[in-house]
């Protein structure tokens, strides 16, 4: 069943055979043959973005909200370099995407040809893998392999660079099942002895905690199901990183909330005081560990991770289990049940008394105001008015608003929360929301944004309007680079060097200029009505919510400190709390 066709046609055929129906991209000279093939068919829908960075973030949003790989098509040179931030973002957050770039014809490579860039060289450190395809006979196989690599093991971005002459040349199309299998076949099943040891620890633990992360989301919805059963039948408390929110429901009875630098007091103290920490698909990021030497000093640590390099990278663990979260948890659950589902119920009950004491601190408390909208209040109202929506998806930009969104919005399902965690890319959220809405046309997609982040990819308003994507841009406008300002307050003597959002646009007029709806609001009394107006409007909305300008995001573990050294909300000391050794960790 081999077939002869041009390279450009192979690209489209390979995408179809991989089950792709959506591509985010931007054309240019070096990909015109592929764009021509896209024009000639109807199975794959192409979404024209307004900047290649937007295409990659849109593909990330698409991927994170569906579990399927996102696909991007951009041209050579500037098209490829514009994609670099998105690639790095996807690498850091383990998001499966396949990026196809055009390249100058093979005979021009190395001559500084027009729009030539060493794309595989530039993107080597920011992709999981990449290839330059010089022979049309290799092209379709490489594309199939790209999907294999992007989605197997620890997911990530894969790039295939395709010179223009290869797109024009004729070659043999290789269907997915005939493509050469790669040596790359990561192990998914955990070692049975290690799983047995985990079950023994679970049976003996007196102060256990599940610390879960993005790996649970990566593993798929079944992994979340298994996790929920494990947590609920064991009665163990559970916390999650920013990247893992929704794997265990926020309304579940064992949920402690997010942990880490801006995580909840009870979650962090439970991590600090536990005797058994079960890390499920999280990577001991420095936003989690704080001072490594003081991180959960008295616990035995188990780490389930599909990537051996995540294990013992930052924190030395006692029991490493290399494998897929879903598979390992399922095996452990079966074994634990077959041995009678034992736990030290008495000790665990005491542990819960302790945790409930910590909960009384009410670490998310904030002072209400009748005059100005507090950002936390805006999110509390957004939550109240949208939490019952059956298909609510939340994206964020990066900054204080992102942390408040993680604290004040509840996620009861996986794949409903899209945020840039590892790279912390301002400008991620808006294009990501577009990708989510494309994947879920009838869903409610809200991007919780700061005004500064949002401006970084605001050109995507054109995309939202063109494709009638009713994304809601919920901007908490403090007219500050709020997170930076907060650090300057805590760390640099309140010298607010360049952390102001000056010369902001009139967001309502901006929305109207693009043919969308704008809503501006500053009075707390009008908040609910304004949110309802946003929700009821059938189309993209920019919601400009003017909020308190100098609000700080608490709780907060000053960088370089241990978990039990948290700063709590209003009235907490804010001067000189971070030592110089911590300052470098910002």
């Amino acid at each position: 069943m081999t077939r002869q066709m041009t390279g450009a046609k192979m690209v489209v055929q390979a995408l179809k055979d991989q089950g792709v129906d959506t591509v985010f991209g931007y054309p240019g000279g070096a990909v015109l043959p592929i764009y021509d093939e896209i024009f000639l068919q109807n199975d794959i829908r192409h979404y024209l973005v307004r900047h290649e960075q937007g295409a990659v973030h849109a593909a990330e949003g698409y991927a994170r909200s569906t579990g399927k790989p996102g696909v991007v098509l951009v041209t050579s040179g500037p098209g490829a370099t514009n994609a670099v931030t998105g690639l790095t973002d996807a690498l850091m957050d383990s998001i499966p995407i396949v990026v196809l770039t055009g390249q100058v014809p093979t005979f021009l490579i190395g001559t500084d040809g027009f729009q030539e860039a060493d794309t595989v060289g530039i993107t080597r450190p920011c992709t999981k893998h990449n290839w330059l395809v010089k022979d049309p006979e290799d092209l379709s196989g490489r594309i199939h392999q790209a999907f294999h690599v992007a989605t197997n093991g620890r997911p990530g971005p894969v790039l295939v660079d395709i010179p223009k002459d290869v797109q024009f040349a004729t070659g043999t199309y290789t269907p997915p099942e005939k493509a050469r299998t790669l040596h790359y076949q990561p192990k998914t099943k955990g070692d049975p002895e290690a799983i047995e040891a985990l079950v023994e620890l679970i049976e003996q633990a007196e102060r256990p905690i599940f610390y879960t992360g993005g790996g649970v989301i990566n593993s798929g919805p079944e992994a979340s199901e298994t996790l929920r059963e494990f947590v609920d039948t064991s009665g163990f408390p559970i916390t999650s990183t920013l990247m893992g929110l929704g794997a265990y429901p926020a309304n579940g009875k064992n949920w402690l909330g997010m942990l880490g630098m801006h995580g909840l007091y009870e979650a962090n103290l439970a991590m600090h005081g536990c005797d058994l920490m079960i890390n499920v698909g999280a990577r001991f990021d420095d936003r989690i560990t704080g001072r490594v030497q003081d991180f959960s000093p008295k616990s035995q640590k188990v780490h389930i991770d599909i990537d051996p390099s995540s294990i013992n990278k930052v924190i030395h663990v006692d029991l490493p289990i290399v494998g897929d979260v879903g598979s390992v948890l399922a095996d452990a659950l079966i074994l634990w049940k077959s041995r009678g589902s034992k736990t030290r119920a008495d000790s665990i009950q005491k542990w819960w008394y302790q945790i409930k004491e910590w909960k009384k601190v009410d670490c998310l408390a904030f002072t209400q105001s009748k005059k100005t909208i507090k950002p936390q209040h805006a999110l509390t109202r957004l939550e109240a008015l949208t939490k019952d929506h059956p298909k609510r998806y939340i994206c964020t930009e990066v900054g204080q608003h992102q942390m408040w969104a993680a604290q004040f919005l509840g996620f009861n399902e996986p794949n409903r929360w899209m945020t840039s965690g590892g790279l912390g890319t301002m400008g991620y959220g808006f294009p990501a929301s577009i990708g989510v809405q494309v994947a879920h046309p009838d869903a409610l997609v809200i991007n919780v944004a700061g005004e500064a982040s949002w401006l970084m990819n605001m050109q995507e308003m054109g995309t939202a309007v063109q494709f009638r994507l009713p994304v809601k841009q919920f901007i908490l406008n403090n007219e500050r680079l709020g997170m930076v300002r907060q650090w300057q307050e805590l760390l640099h003597g309140e010298r607010y060097s360049h952390s102001w959002s000056e010369a902001l646009p009139d967001f309502v007029k901006l929305a109207e200029a693009f043919g969308a709806k704008g809503i501006m609001i500053s009075d707390p009394a009008d908040l609910d009505d304004a949110i309802m107006e946003m929700l009821e409007y059938d189309g993209p909305v920019i919601f400009d919510c003017l909020v308190e300008k100098h609000e700080n995001c608490f709780p907060m573990i000053p960088s370089g400190e241990a978990h039990n050294k948290m700063l709590l909300g209003e009235g907490a000391p804010t001067q000189d709390v971070i030592g110089t050794s911590g300052a470098v960790l910002v």
């Binding site: 595989v120 060289g121 690599v149 040596h183 003996q204 294990i311 029991l319 289990i321």
Partner: protein
Amino acid sequence: MSALKIKKGTSRHSAYDLRDPHAETEERHTLAVVVDNEAGVLARVIGLFSGRGYNIESLTVAETDHTGHVSRITVVTTGTPSVIEQIKAQLGRLVPVHDVHDLTVEGASVERELALFKVSGNGNDRIESLRLAEIFRANVVDSTLESFVFEMTGTPQKIDAFAELMRPLGLVEMARTGVAALSRGMD
């Protein structure tokens, strides 16, 4: 706390040999990395070392299986035990990497390096350099009335030692291949 004990040997099958991670002494390890010989694979390995701040003391590479397009990269690196473990894990997850062997811990191995030395001089120095070359089993591969080029194969330490001796006798230039290494025995 004492209640929580992990059975000995549990992590035997895991990707790790768990040695004391807090031992901060630097060790020298020779790693043999078997890779698909695809374009850019060397850049990928070198980029990993530079990007993550690991050391490369020596690196050699060549295709060792022409039909299978498999190459072998031999890297000599230094680091604390936990850094060495990270290096191996990071190498292991590169897509074109088939295997990472730590020859330093996987039993006995042989390491060899080839070096060329240009030594110029006359009179006693010239005679002395030739005499030492014989002791070190170095071959003369080029000779003029005022110079020799010696070729020598040996461990890096032997090559260092010979170079030290040649320096006062007129060593003008030197080229080394870097280490090639194999484990001893049947496999």
